[in-house]
């Protein structure tokens, strides 16, 4: 069918493969290749990229070059550059690098939070307040995103109460977070749970609700995206080749796959700005760089449908 005359609704895909993906695999990509990846993603129409993480490089040597990648990515036209920061110290580096946005991860699961961040969720909220104060004192424009992980449960404590997730969303906003995201860190979500939780979170955060972050650990990531679309979410994290993963589920899929997500959204008539064919080319290139690592995704094998161009582009 022909495209309607009116502009289609925008959905933004944020590429997180360079952070969430690369941190969970052994291969260390050179800074040059990461630059090539970022540039090609930008040329394919991606407009938001999480380029790395300001954590000590002895913990994540894969991401040690984040401070070099931020200015490079910011030099590309129209690109919003995100980084992950675990604490105030990381935030200070993000401010120094002039990142557009810094994501502070918080785990809604108390047990998971203690195991992974060595802080309670409320201690992370307090850290966000400190980051906000430092950011404001510096007169910086770097946005602060509170990323609420294990929002659908975790492998350590199991169940995470919806009320607790929503309490933390409100607490992060009160502490000064400019943006709120929800993450199904371990692939425990299902479309019904997504619809319910995201609807409530969007109600609380309004325009400050930012992104949905789904792992495909149990194959439901795209169905969960579809459920989140239904309650108005218009930004999703994704990882090229579906890299990333969960240490508790070896071999399981990582993040929702960027190219599959871009295909689904375009097919549905959303405007992602992304050229899926160029994304598939980039995927092939990155797959070559990551030879020996397990990639995921489905579209790359079957290719685009014969109906794709006329119907969706």
């Amino acid at each position: 069918m022909d495209l309607p005359d009116h502009a289609r609704e925008r959905v933004v895909i944020r590429e997180v493969g360079l952070r969430d993906g690369l941190q969970s695999i052994a291969t260390i990509l050179s800074t040059d290749r990461k630059r090539e990846w970022i540039r090609a993603a930008c040329e394919a129409g991606m407009r938001e990229i999480e380029v790395g993480s300001f954590v000590p490089s002895r913990l994540l040597p894969q991401l040690a070059d984040t401070a070099e990648l931020v200015p490079f990515a910011k030099s590309l036209p129209g690109l919003t550059v995100s980084v992950l920061v675990p604490n105030l110290r990381g935030a200070e580096r993000a401010l120094g690098a002039n990142a557009d946005l810094m994501i502070v991860p918080l785990s809604a699961s108390h047990a998971h939070s203690l195991a992974n961040l060595r802080k309670t969720p409320d201690e992370v909220v307090a850290e966000v307040a400190r980051i906000r104060a430092v950011r404001d004192a510096a007169g910086s424009k770097t946005l602060i995103e509170g990323g609420v992980g294990t929002a659908f449960g975790c492998t350590i404590q199991g169940e995470v109460a919806r009320g607790e997730v929503l309490r933390l969303v409100q607490a992060l906003l009160d502490a000064g977070a400019d943006r709120i995201s929800l993450a199904d860190t371990v692939g425990y979500a299902d479309p019904a749970a997504v619809r319910a939780l995201f609807a409530d979170a969007v109600k609380i955060a309004g325009q400050r609700f930012w992104s949905g972050h789904f792992h495909d650990t149990r194959g439901l990531a795209l169905a969960n995206v579809h459920a989140a679309l239904d309650v108005g979410v218009r930004r999703f994290d994704a990882s090229l080749g579906g890299i990333g993963g969960c240490p508790y589920a070896p071999g399981a899929s990582g993040n929702v796959t960027t190219e599959d997500l871009a295909f689904m959204l375009a097919s549905m008539g959303y405007d992602t700005g992304v050229d899926v064919e160029r994304l598939l080319d980039l995927r092939a290139q990155v797959a070559g760089w990551l030879a020996g690592e397990e990639l995921h995704g489905t579209l790359w094998r079957a290719g685009l449908p014969k109906t794709f161009h006329r119907e969706a582009r």
Copy 2:
């Protein structure tokens, strides 16, 4: 959270791996192993199984034992036994075997229909009318299902108009089909297209709308199921280990994976009657029988979430 007291809504998964799955792979399972598969699926709570196809065995030697499988499957308590029949001759064999339901495939794509069935879609409709007459004359209770394939386009002609699909749904009903199903034969569907087409088909067929059949060729099968659930579809075809596929997309996934679908539906709170853990055991067994063949699906690698039992069973 605790289960609500009221009975949850029923969603039926029809296992088609023994037909759609086995017909597309080289390994020929022995009749004994197929019996074991059918028995174990039934013990895991599956209540509808497509056990084979009444096509000439020189065309599909993998399914040559269908006439033996029907009476076996019918001997199991509470199992609805389906077979595929390509024409009146196949239908007569299905009537002879006393199958509960026979699926007559029709391809909404004229080009695909000619290439695969050597008939136009309307010639298939006429065949359904003949099958109905013979069925009624025999006083048989075997139901006739018109399965409208390539409902979202095909690899030969590309686009298939929605109006043409709906016209064929109506024509099949007029010709005497008791049930109507829609199939995304080559993985061209997306959730928006599914919602639109299935809503219209359900409007036409009402209670006679039967099943959604989605291939996971491009990773969207579960998202498409989710979209169909939204418009009231409550029965889906699926294949254990995701076997089945598309000759035009080598290596691409086949049918939506039974165990992943059962997990998604149970997590969402639907009552499928299926024990997902037993299904995973059966998958492992079938995977052993099909060593060397490519299976699909995601849940089997990660296992069930810690939250699964309390939340969804």
